[in-house]
Symmetry: C2
Subunit: 321 residues, 2 copies
Amino acid sequence: MADMPSSVDILEEGPREAFQIEPGPIATADKVALIDALSATGLKRIQVASFVNPKKVPGWADADAVVAGFAPAPGVAYQALYFNPQGLHRALAFRDRLTVVGSITLSASEAFSLRNLNRDRAGQLAAMREHVAVHREAGVPVTRLSIMASFGCNFSGDVPVRRVLDTVADGLAVADETGARIARLSLADSMGWETPVRTQALVGAVRERWPDLPLTLHLHDTRGMAIACAHVALKMGVASFDASVGGLGGCPFAAQPGAPGNIATEELVFLCEEMGIATGIDLDALIEAARLARRIVGHPLPSALVLGGGLAAMRRAAAGA
Amino acid sequence: MADMPSSVDILEEGPREAFQIEPGPIATADKVALIDALSATGLKRIQVASFVNPKKVPGWADADAVVAGFAPAPGVAYQALYFNPQGLHRALAFRDRLTVVGSITLSASEAFSLRNLNRDRAGQLAAMREHVAVHREAGVPVTRLSIMASFGCNFSGDVPVRRVLDTVADGLAVADETGARIARLSLADSMGWETPVRTQALVGAVRERWPDLPLTLHLHDTRGMAIACAHVALKMGVASFDASVGGLGGCPFAAQPGAPGNIATEELVFLCEEMGIATGIDLDALIEAARLARRIVGHPLPSALVLGGGLAAMRRAAAGA
């Protein structure tokens, strides 16, 4: 597992991330157009909507219409986000269009969980037991364990790696108790504390303790470190990332509004391809999708590559010259 | 040399980079205010102006007034850019305020040199012999060798590492012939082709051939890779970088206007400090200087960290809680 992967798997979260945070309103047709543009790039997994309370997240009041509206592309798995039984059942109404899989989600920082969800660790664990039970009743597998605040916390500061390990162990214990079979561990930098140093220490420690548990990183570019963290992780063999086209989305926990959100998908794809790691994604098509996203949201996006453009055309011209 | 450095040296090029490319006009007093803000952050070297033809670069028509106007801070070396004897002599008129040191500059891509300067390799070498002679007459040492297009070229594509090595050798030969004593080699990503893979290969090859020649990297964030390249270089022992506060400047050779320019100084400082590498720079003060720069140029800057803010205040609050 210590070698570089030969290919990576990317979950494109741009639509879901963007339309929950953009002030909008953004037309349902534009959301659908972005999803369809993304599914034509070679991306194999796209998170297309969030089934949440429209009073809290008005940008996703049209989640059902968006999910009903995109044109499913062969070989692409479409996902939706949800947090509670109502959301799960809204997703299941689209079982023919969505891949529905459950997650156990815990925060490595209790301070974050208390602020964000009003739950201490015991409360988190109880909620997750209930969450798995709801999935079991609905016949939906729970296969993913996600650890929020894995890189640090605005409220409790640096989170010791040991505490992340304890949180993973707690989540795996809940899975054991409830019969969930965890096939993937996602480490999320919920508040933009990631650095390459932290990434190396965290991935190394998790790997050492659970060498066979496949890892996903959910990186936030709040402080400009995402691509360096991804590079470190790729060199350590991490082969799965969440990402957001154009860097769409922003970070609700950044000190300032307008701070970048997830790592930009096209920058991650460019990095991988330059490292010789296959993505199966057409970078120029992805950059065009990011430009479509920019037109839809009506403001510049954090991605440098969207402005700079790829190298393929210049390489072709130079080779032909 | 293969170990991480304990400290790094940063040449802040933001003022010079910004005011040559911003459409402006920008008041001389604002340029001076930015320089003075930067000199209060702990930065030890600042490139404050460009002595160039005001018809070609109207943003630096006031270079003399800017250089006359800043308040020299103790321990800070101020530099100016110039390309020809007229520029050198304008800089020398401010010898009491500026550190004037010459460079031999060559392009690893002849295609770039032909397009940009209408000079082939022989023409470049002849021009550099003349350049050193002009410095000798003026009593100014030439101590730096800079290689443009060290990472790739928009016109000739990927530049073989071997060609960069040949160009360095050519430059060192000119130095030998002309009696210049080169104390530093600068590898510049003039057109935004850098990747971590290329950085590792290039730094490794240069190190192997000239193990005792100190290296500087001039990185461009055109495609979002600068921080990952800096991380790789730091781990290989590179201890000197050019950078630009806020990512000021842009890249005249990017496919699209508005593409980011140099690596953002505050992101480089954040990375170094998180790696345990001392910069001597107050990150929060530097972020404030970037925000001043943003107000002066009147548009968002590429740096994520300017939006995200540093971690120091949250760490202090968490420690006190």
